[in-house]
Symmetry: D2
Subunit: 130 residues, 4 copies
């Protein structure tokens, strides 16, 4: 298991993200992490959807450790922990920037698709997370 | 202005739909109304996306009259108020089924697109709301 | 590990649920499962938020097996696989009703909270899934 | 009708924001505008929910002029066009930053609530948009 780069992305918690308890609706952490992955592509002038290739989520193992709240400024950390021919495993964590408390963490397996079939990750897309 | 048919569709308010005040997040009423429009197609074994044709929202005039709450069972009413060659105007209202209070109403103009261009509404799609 | 009841809940895939590939955005399966859990409460004239008690998601282990698409009618199956004093483990699966293909499955641990603290599950809430 | 300040806020279009046509789902423009309003509060070290006061959306008149797409970086402009004792009218527009094309514009009436009742806007909240 190789540890690659660590990257960060900030996310504000808005009205649309919280439920009646004033805390972030659980599935929104997955959205926040997906935004962070997309921004890693954008920051390299690349796209997560290119030449008929894209990634799909295959497996998630997630721990909900504490609750983000309305107005919080969160930070998503992304690192690649494994790469295979047609899949990647990333570790993503979400922190509250006010006190660096970890709110959420997940291990995420992405599979590379070309149109509708599993395909080897093209070099240009693999480099993105490395 | 011709009044056409009136149709109803039920929507439950879940955790994901409410904000920290426990009331429906304002833009969700637009989603509820879009679901109702889609179901009008489905109920006639049709699709809102067919043969390169689809509708896009062009204009909305909406009044937020009262607040839906978590657990409420709402009902969306849809009627066509005007049809033109390439556009339709619908009136949609959302009621709380527990007391028939009207929570939301909007006038909505939809424009027919074929791929990326405005196009005359095909007969099969026009009939759907009529 | 005791297997308890199996319950089903239908969910339609609307425009708001799919991404540019026309397939269900991955985190939406978590929303669909949460709606199914809420409806289990509602079907028993109970609420998932009662007397200061509610559940929070603690852990999710999820497999994304195939892709739901716009217009699909899905079905969520929910069964309780373990109960402890202050937590429950459920297994939830999402099927495409057109061919009974399994699209998604997850193991989900819910922890009971009273206001902001972990608390023993009140009898009335435990019975809901049993 | 008094024109007050003009403020800008950037929003990226992610997977979760687009539909199967690859364009921004219509109600998301309302979310983008709400985020912009919240950030106007945050930028002044204030909260949109304070001392039992908050705003609710009362009326929206919106034009959908062109389509934002996945990866686009948008910009929301907000200006106050009218203030009354218990309500505000804002004008908000969304532009594509790549070419400054206007995609969306709306007139939005917000009503001030104290807990569940309409109330005069407290001075500290009125200043926020002025």
């Amino acid at each position: 298991m190789q540890k690659r780069e660590n990257r960060t992305f900030k996310v504000r918690v808005y009205y649309e993200d919280v439920d009646l308890g004033g805390i972030v609706y659980h599935s929104k952490y997955l959205n926040f992490c997906e935004r962070a992955r997309s921004e890693i592509f954008f920051s390299q002038q690349k796209s997560p959807v290119a030449d008929e290739y894209h990634f799909v989520v295959k497996h998630i193992d997630a721990n909900f450790l504490a609750s983000g709240k309305f107005e919080d400024l969160l930070e998503v950390h992304t690192e690649m922990v494994q790469k295979k021919r047609a899949s990647l495993t990333l570790h993503q964590s979400v922190y509250d920037t006010s006190d660096q408390e970890k709110l959420f963490e997940m291990s995420l397996q992405l599979v590379c698709m070309r149109v509708d079939r599993i395909a080897p990750i093209p070099a240009g897309m693999l480099d993105v997370f490395a």
